[in-house]
Structures are given as structure tokens and as C-alpha cells.
């Protein structure tokens, strides 16, 4: 849906950058401060993709900032490299390569561990710059004498020297940086990065290789940092060694948090606030060494009260003022009735000769946790096109069994064959890519995203495979994506709620979206773990209808405690008890089986 609004951000950025030299001097902002803000802003774009979009908080970005800057500065000051542009590019690439190597280590862990590792790795770079590499980096003196760029236009040459004369060069770099970043966050990769931030477990489960995507984000952030580092050298005609220190990383984090993470422009705003406050507190207020204290207090207050930074605050204020009315007029529809979709979405094509055969076969499946046996020697076969139910009292090992089938946990013994392929020991992503996925007992959604974005993320996994670097491709240009999402929306009855953030959905709607996420990956075998859990009777009836409609042309296995619904839905039932298969049969057989009664009631007696 291309529209003029589509390039609004780019257009406003361009206008803002063009207007800045005319407006800012009247606000008392020195050209060099403006230039510095641009460098920090550019540094921050990459960091925001890493932190704001992917949710990886790194305290070690200084390593790449310094690396890119030092490489560029070394080429220009010591190696006699002739082209400033070329040096910047090489610096940026070196930072990216270093980022890739560091990412391989740091991304072994997530969350807080990741943050700590990046701190430590950042420190290593500082020590290495200072000691073993001092001959190249100038040690504590850094590399002075970095030249400024010029541009030959045929009739004249532009020299970007300093102050406002350097500004156009930096502004152009920033502009290119932001345009590329906007492309990235609007690309499939961008969508998957925010999925990783929201729910890495589910992003994996719908079939994305999140480790590779994280590494991508890390390398992108390193590349931006490297370019910004190179520009820093040019800006001050000197590449400082303290580009490498922890304070640099810390300042970047703080500026981004102040400006607003996940906005791409937050770091620029944060840098503007930071640098002007620093000047103001020291200059106008004459606070001397207390300036940092004041900035620290401001920062703490911002983090406490303005959770999404200044940009987030402005957005919230905007919504509060202008969008409340709209929301009121547009009352949410009461639970959309579920229509059985006219054509159930086709499951992915399977090879003809397998169509009628066995789709899944587990043999001797066993899971032990320490001394505890959750599943023991389960034999389980499902035919293609079958609709199977699994029941069993609490603690029968149903969920563990599902987790083994979807390869979330490796079995202690036994094999699983899916469509003639042994999938034992494979990863959940790989299995999903083969066409086997699961909807979760407890909702695993991408909470801060809209319904449409949720389904898009799931659909992308099937349409693009587990990993693909289409960084600059528009989501709209992916063949079949819109149709797939639209279709799934219709199937789970959320068409009217497509652009609603998941966090405001009703519980029943969330449950349907949970199923929708699994469906959007177009599985040939779909496992549903208690799809009816926590639903009202009316919602149950609707959901059973939904499940029936999606079962056409697809193989499904359903776990649930609601016997009546399950007996109505499925054709064949497997009963688990104490981690073993107790019996199998049609719903009628199971209803009348004394052993099953014993299992359920016996549990009470014992």
C-alpha cells in the first residue's frame, strides 16, 4: 500500500537536516555541537536497531566505534590512504567484521549475561588499543591530524572543513544512515528483529533462526558504530583513544534511553538533550564538576517515569490529546463471530505418495528429568489428514510429549520420524520449517505488536525460510505474504482487529491469535496444546468450530482437558497416563473404556 505517508519520516528528516543550520544558531547551538549530535545520532541508529528493535542491550558499542574510527584514522594519517570516503568505508567494514566476531561470542547468551559480556569485551578492546596495538593507534595520544573530506563536482570542489562547512557532509551521512535504517526496520528482517525483542521463544518456534538474525543486528550496529567512529575522527581532526572506553558506551546507552529506544530518532534527540544540557549546566549555570550529577539525576528520573524516552513521551502525549476521541468513536467490535472460512488455507504441499501414509511416527519415546520419568517408551503414529486428540490426567506427561514432538526438548531415548524424515535431535526452528509446529498452552505472542504484525512474522518464516538477508526489501514485495496474513486473519476471525496491538486484545482473541500464529506458518502437522484452556463456554464452541474448519486438508493433534469438546472434534484419541500410552480408540470407545475411567478417577483415590 504505497502512500505519500510512507516516506514521511525520510522527508521530515531531510527537511529537518536542511533547516537546522538556519534555525539552530538562533537557539544558541554551536555548529560543532550540531555536528557532534549528528555523529552520536548516527552511532545511535545502529545501537537502536540492536537495543530498541532487537532488545539486545549492549554496553560495549565503544569497541566498534573505536575500531571503525581507528582504522579510518590510521589509513588517513599513517598509511597515506588518499580517499577520506574510502577510509570511512573500510573503517566501517572493519567494525562490521569485528562486530561479527564479537557477536559470535557475546550472542551465546542473552539478557543480562549478554550485557555483562559486552561490558567485558568492550574493556578488552580498550586494553588492546592501549597496549599491544599502541604502535598503530597512537596509544593514549590517539591519532591526530585526520583530514576532512572534499567532493569534486567537475567545476568546483567542496571542502568540508569544520563547523557549518562540515555539517552538510555529516548531515548527508546521517541522512543515508537513517534512510537505510528505515528500510531495514520495515523489511522482513526488521519485523523478525522486533519479534525477537518481544518473544524470542516464539520467534524461534515459528521457524526463524533467531541467532543469525541477532548476529545480523549486532553486525549492523557495529557497522553504524564504525562509520560514526570514523566521522568522529574527521569532526575533530583527531581520533581519540577514549572512543574505546566504557563511558562512551554508557553515554550512548543513556542518550538512547533518554531519546527513546525503538524509534531510530531517539538517539539523535537524546544526544541533542545530553550535549546541550552538558553545555548549559557547565556554561550558563556554572555548575563545574556537578554537571554530571545533574545529568545523572535527570537520567534516573527519565528512566523511572518516561519509559519510552522523550520520543515515546511525545507519542503518548500526542495520543492522549488527539487520538483518544478517535478511539472512543471506534468502539471495538464485540467478539467477531467466527465464520468457517470458505476455503481453508491449504497446508503446504506434500509429496503425493505420502498423502495417505503416516505423517508422524514416534518410537520408544522417553524423557527423564533427573530421576523423574516424564515419558516412557511411547509409541505413537499419526496418519496424514488425521485429527487426533490426546487426553490424560494432570501429570500424565502430555506437554512434555508435545515438546519432544516439536523438538523443543530433546528426548532421552527413542526416535521421531516426520514425513519419512528422522527429526530426533533437530531444533524447533528446523522442524517448524519442515512443516510441524505447535500452538502453546500459555499464549506466546509478540505482545507489543499488532495482530497483523504477529501473523506477518509467522508467515515470513514459511515464505522466506529460516534465515535470509533481505535487509532492504519491502514487506509488501514478498509474494503471497499479504494474502497469507489476510487469509489467516479471516480464519481466526480477527480481520477487524488486524491493526490492534495484541496487548489490548480480549483473552479469547489472544487464544485465537495463538492458533493463528501456528497456522500462518502453514504447517502440514499442527499440534495444539490445550487450545480451549481458560475460555468461556461460548468461546469454546466458537473455537471448536474454528478448529474444525482449519482441520480440513491438514493433520492436527490436540491436547485438551475439555473432554466433551474434544470428543466432538477429533476422530481418534490417545490416552496418556503416567508418561505411557494407556490406550487408543475412537471417542466412543474411550468414553466407555473402564481403564480410562480408572485412570482419571484412580488418580483421585490415590
Amino acid at each position: 500500500m504505497p502512500s505519500p505517508r510512507r516516506y514521511l519520516a525520510e522527508l521530515l528528516t531531510a527537511l529537518g537536516l536542511l533547516a537546522a543550520p538556519f534555525v539552530l544558531p538562533h537557539l544558541g547551538l554551536a555548529p560543532n555541537t550540531a555536528n557532534r549530535i549528528l555523529v552520536w545520532g548516527l552511532f545511535g541508529i545502529g545501537f537502536d536497531i540492536l537495543f530498541g528493535y532487537t532488545g539486545l542491550l549492549s554496553f560495549g558499542q565503544a569497541a566498534f566505534y573505536g575500531t571503525g574510527g581507528m582504522v579510518a584514522a590510521y589509513l588517513l594519517t599513517r598509511a597515506g590512504f588518499p580517499s577520506v570516503w574510502g577510509a570511512l568505508l573500510i573503517g566501517m567494514l572493519s567494525a562490521a567484521v569485528v562486530g561479527w566476531l564479537v557477536g559470535l561470542i557475546a550472542l551465546r547468551r542473552t539478557g543480562i549475561y549478554f550485557a555483562m559480556i559486552t561490558v567485558a569485551i568492550g574493556e578488552v578492546f580498550y586494553f588492546v588499543e592501549f597496549n599491544p596495538l599502541a604502535d598503530w593507534t597512537g596509544g593514549e595520544n590517539g591519532l591526530p591530524g585526520v583530514p576532512t573530506p572534499s567532493l569534486y563536482l567537475g567545476f568546483t570542489t567542496l571542502h568540508f572543513t569544520s563547523g557549518w562547512a562540515l555539517y552538510p557532509f555529516l548531515a548527508a551521512c546521517y541522512f543515508v544512515g537513517i534512510v537505510l535504517a528505515l528500510r531495514i526496520v520495515r523489511s522482513p528482517v526488521g519485523a523478525i528483529l522486533s519479534a525477537i525483542r518481544e518473544n524470542p521463544l516464539r520467534a524461534t518456534a515459528v521457524g526463524h533462526d533467531i541467532h543469525s538474525y541477532k548476529l545480523t543486528a549486532f553486525v549492523i550496529a557495529a557497522a553504524y558504530a564504525g562509520l560514526a567512529g570514523g566521522l568522529l575522527g574527521i569532526l575533530q581532526a583527531f581520533m581519540p583513544p577514549e572512543a574505546f572506553i566504557f563511558d562512551t558506551s554508557g553515554q550512548l546507552v543513556m542518550q538512547t534511553a533518554i531519546g527513546g529506544p525503538g524509534t531510530l530518532f531517539g538517539p539523535l534527540l537524546g544526544a541533542a538533550v545530553w550535549l546541550s544540557l552538558q553545555d548549559f549546566l557547565q556554561g550558563a549555570l556554572g555548575l563545574g564538576s556537578a554537571w554530571k550529577l545533574v545529568l545523572g539525576v535527570v537520567f534516573v528520573l527519565l528512566v523511572c517515569f518516561l519509559r519510552h524516552g522523550l520520543v515515546g513521551g511525545i507519542k503518548d502525549l500526542w495520543r492522549l490529546l488527539f487520538e483518544r476521541k478517535r478511539a472512543e468513536t471506534e468502539a471495538p467490535e464485540e467478539a467477531t463471530p467466527i465464520r468457517a472460512a470458505p476455503d481453508s488455507m491449504p497446508a503446504r504441499a506434500r509429496e503425493g505418495d505420502l498423502q495417505a501414509g503416516t505423517i508422524l511416527e514416534a518410537k520408544g519415546l522417553t524423557k527423564r528429568y533427573g530421576g523423574l520419568v516424564a515419558n516412557s517408551n511411547i509409541a505413537f503414529t499419526v496418519k496424514a489428514g488425521e485429527l487426533r486428540g490426546i487426553i490424560g490426567p494432570n501429570g500424565a506427561g502430555k506437554s512434555t510429549f508435545f515438546k519432544m514432538l516439536t523438538c523443543e526438548v530433546p528426548p532421552s531415548g527413542g526416535t521421531i520420524v516426520f514425513e519419512g524424515q528422522d527429526i530426533t535431535g533437530k531444533g524447533v526452528t528446523e522442524v517448524c520449517q519442515l512443516g510441524l509446529t505447535k500452538s502453546y498452552q500459555v499464549n506466546q505472542l509478540f505482545t507489543r505488536l499488532t495482530v497483523r504484525q504477529n501473523l506477518t512474522i509467522a508467515a515470513l518464516a514459511d515464505l522466506r525460510g529460516r534465515f535470509r538477508l533481505d535487509l532492504f526489501r519491502s514487506l509488501e514485495k514478498i509474494p503471497g505474504l499479504q494474502e497469507r496474513v489476510q487469509h489467516t486473519l479471516g480464519l481466526v476471525g480477527l480481520t477487524a482487529r488486524a491493526d490492534t496491538p495484541v496487548s489490548v486484545l480480549a483473552y479469547g482473541e489472544k487464544r485465537r491469535l495463538e492458533i493463528g500464529l501456528a497456522l500462518a506458518t502453514s504447517p502440514s502437522l499442527l499440534l495444539l496444546d490445550e487450545p480451549l484452556a481458560g475460555m468461556s463456554p461460548r468461546e469454546r464452541v466458537e473455537t471448536v468450530q474454528l478448529l474444525k474448519s482449519i482441520a480440513r486438508g491438514r493433520t492436527m493433534i490436540v491436547i485438551d482437558h475439555d473432554m466433551d469438546s474434544l470428543f466432538e472434534l477429533v476422530e481418534w484419541i490417545t490416552v496418556l497416563q503416567e508418561g505411557r500410552v494407556l490406550t487408543e480408540g475412537t471417542p466412543d470407545q474411550i468414553k466407555s473404556d473402564p481403564a480410562v475411567r480408572e485412570a482419571y478417577l484412580g488418580g483421585v483415590h490415590a
Binding site: I105, R109, I112, I117, M254, A257, G296, V300, V303, C304
Partner: protein, 291 residues
């Protein structure tokens, strides 16, 4: 320049360095393990404990009172900080917790600088522990030997609290499975407050005990914090024995590398961390669990 005498003295020195790192790290790791909050202000608390002790020492002239004062002051600071700030961050993303504690650390450092200036302050060791003691192969400052003993006692006390009291049981259960503790109907927030206080006190105690060794400046916390991270990553996040083991390993690495080529001491420390991450991503004694 390798001699056996020097080697043994460096090994002992590594023990002394490591003991201190172990104490600071265990405070960090207990807080993290129980509350799920990585306190980036832990280094600043170490620094503040030293200054609090300095104030007491300046007023009373007693080192024992200074240690008690420094530790208690940080207990109070920790409890207050937990109640006023940290409590509101349990439900917020890890990243917000990192940001706010990072901000607090800057505020702490700059407040101390405002009050005490950047001139270094010295707390002399108690008269009984000044001087040098012969360890056979080498001479070693008496006070530093005492630090090893003091830290050992402090670690034992922490061990006792963690493994022999009801509070400790809850804390350790919380490290294993925080939801389970929640569901047991224990007043988790009270436990959290106490744990945060104890963790802060460990940092403050380490700060004042270390003060006669290093002399105080507002910036001493930062370098220590980074080393503490390395210790915790090596030992395993949330693991008290891991923090102790990690601390000792880190101390030995720094000390023994310094004997060969001091310039590489820290690089080696980080290399060791990387190695552990590659071979045992959850740390030497860490369990797969909290991220």
C-alpha cells in the same frame, strides 16, 4: 623473571585479590539470583561503603567502627534504594533495570565527588595489622593477609545465611524458581528488600575493608564492577559458590599474568571469560535457568 619465590608470592597475592573480588561478586550475584536485577550500581556501592567507613574513621579513629559503619550504612542505602527505586522495576524489562541502576551509579559517584572532592582519602589499617609479615618465601603486608581472613569470615557468614537459615532457603529457592516461591505465599517483597540490603552491605563491607589497601577516590567502583562481571560470568550468574570460585580464579589470573607480562593481565582475564563462555556458556557452577 621467574623464580619460585615470586611465583608463590604471586599465587598468594592472587588469593588476596580473589578473595575480595569473591566477596563483592557474591553480593552482586545473590541480588541478581534472587531479584533478577543486575545492579550496575554495585561498584558505586563498593566505593560508597569505603567513604562511609572513612567518615566514621575520621570521626572516631576506630577502624572496627569504620568497618561496622561502612557496612551498616550500605545496608541502609541498599534497603532505601530497593524500596524507593528498584521495587518499581521488578515488573519492567531487564533493560530498564540496567538503565536505572546505571544512572544511580553515576549519581552516587558524583555525589561523593561533590562532598569529598577527587583528592584521594586514606583510611590507615588498624595499628595491630600494620607492617609486614614473612610468609616464608616472601614478605606480605600484614593487613592484606588479614583481609584474606576477614573476607573468608564474611563469606562464611554469607554462606551460613544462605544455607542455614530460613531466609537463605527462600533466597536459594528463589534463585532456582522464582515463580514457585511466589506461589508459596511468602512475602517476596520483604525477602527482596532484605536480600538487596545484604548484597549492598557485602559491597560496602568490601569497600571499607579494602580502603586501607587502595585509598579512596570516587572512581574506584567502575573498574571493580567490570572485574566483578567477569567473575560472575566465569562462576555462573546467580551462583554463590560460583562467585567465590570465579573470584579466586580471576585473582590468580591477574596475579600470575602480571608476573610474566603485566600489560596482559586484564586481557588474559577477559580471554579466560571468553573461554568459559565457549566451553560452558552458563559458567563453571551456573545452572541453566535465569537469563
Amino acid at each position: 623473571m621467574f623464580t619460585w619465590a615470586n611465583f608463590f608470592s604471586q599465587v598468594f597475592n592472587g588469593l588476596a585479590l580473589g578473595a575480595l573480588l569473591a566477596l563483592i561478586s557474591s553480593g552482586l550475584t545473590i541480588i541478581y539470583g534472587t531479584l533478577g536485577v543486575l545492579n550496575l550500581a554495585h561498584g558505586a556501592m563498593f566505593m560508597m561503603g569505603g567513604y562511609a567507613g572513612y567518615v566514621v574513621y575520621d570521626a572516631t579513629g576506630s577502624f572496627t567502627l569504620a568497618v561496622a559503619g561502612g557496612a551498616l550504612f550500605m545496608l541502609v542505602v541498599g534497603v532505601v534504594m530497593e524500596r524507593i527505586v528498584i521495587r518499581h522495576f521488578y515488573q519492567r524489562p531487564h533493560e530498564d533495570q540496567l538503565l536505572v541502576t546505571f544512572g544511580i551509579s553515576i549519581v552516587m559517584v558524583e555525589v561523593v565527588r561533590l562532598i569529598f572532592t577527587s583528592l584521594s582519602k586514606t583510611v590507615p589499617p588498624p595499628p595491630l595489622l600494620t607492617g609486614i609479615t614473612s610468609l616464608g618465601v616472601t614478605f606480605y603486608p600484614t593487613y592484606r593477609i588479614a583481609v584474606v581472613a576477614i573476607v573468608a569470615v564474611a563469606l562464611l557468614v554469607l554462606y551460613f545465611i544462605l544455607y542455614r537459615t530460613k531466609l537463605g532457603m527462600i533466597v536459594r529457592a528463589g534463585i532456582e524458581d522464582s515463580e514457585m516461591v511466589d506461589s508459596l505465599g511468602i512475602d517476596v517483597y520483604r525477602v527482596f528488600m532484605i536480600v538487596f540490603g545484604i548484597g549492598s552491605m557485602a559491597a560496602g563491607f568490601a569497600g571499607i575493608v579494602n580502603a586501607p589497601v587502595v585509598s579512596l577516590t570516587p572512581d574506584i567502583g567502575e573498574a571493580i564492577l567490570v572485574q566483578t562481571f567477569v567473575v560472575v560470568v566465569i562462576g555462573g550468574v546467580g551462583s554463590f559458590p560460583g562467585a567465590v570460585l570465579g573470584g579466586l580464579i580471576a585473582g590468580e589470573i591477574i596475579s600470575i599474568t602480571s608476573m610474566i607480562n603485566p600489560g596482559y593481565a586484564y586481557v588474559m582475564l577477559f580471554a579466560a571469560m571468553t573461554l568459559v563462555l565457549v566451553l560452558r556458556p552458563y559458567g563453571l557452577l551456573g545452572a541453566r535457568g535465569r537469563e
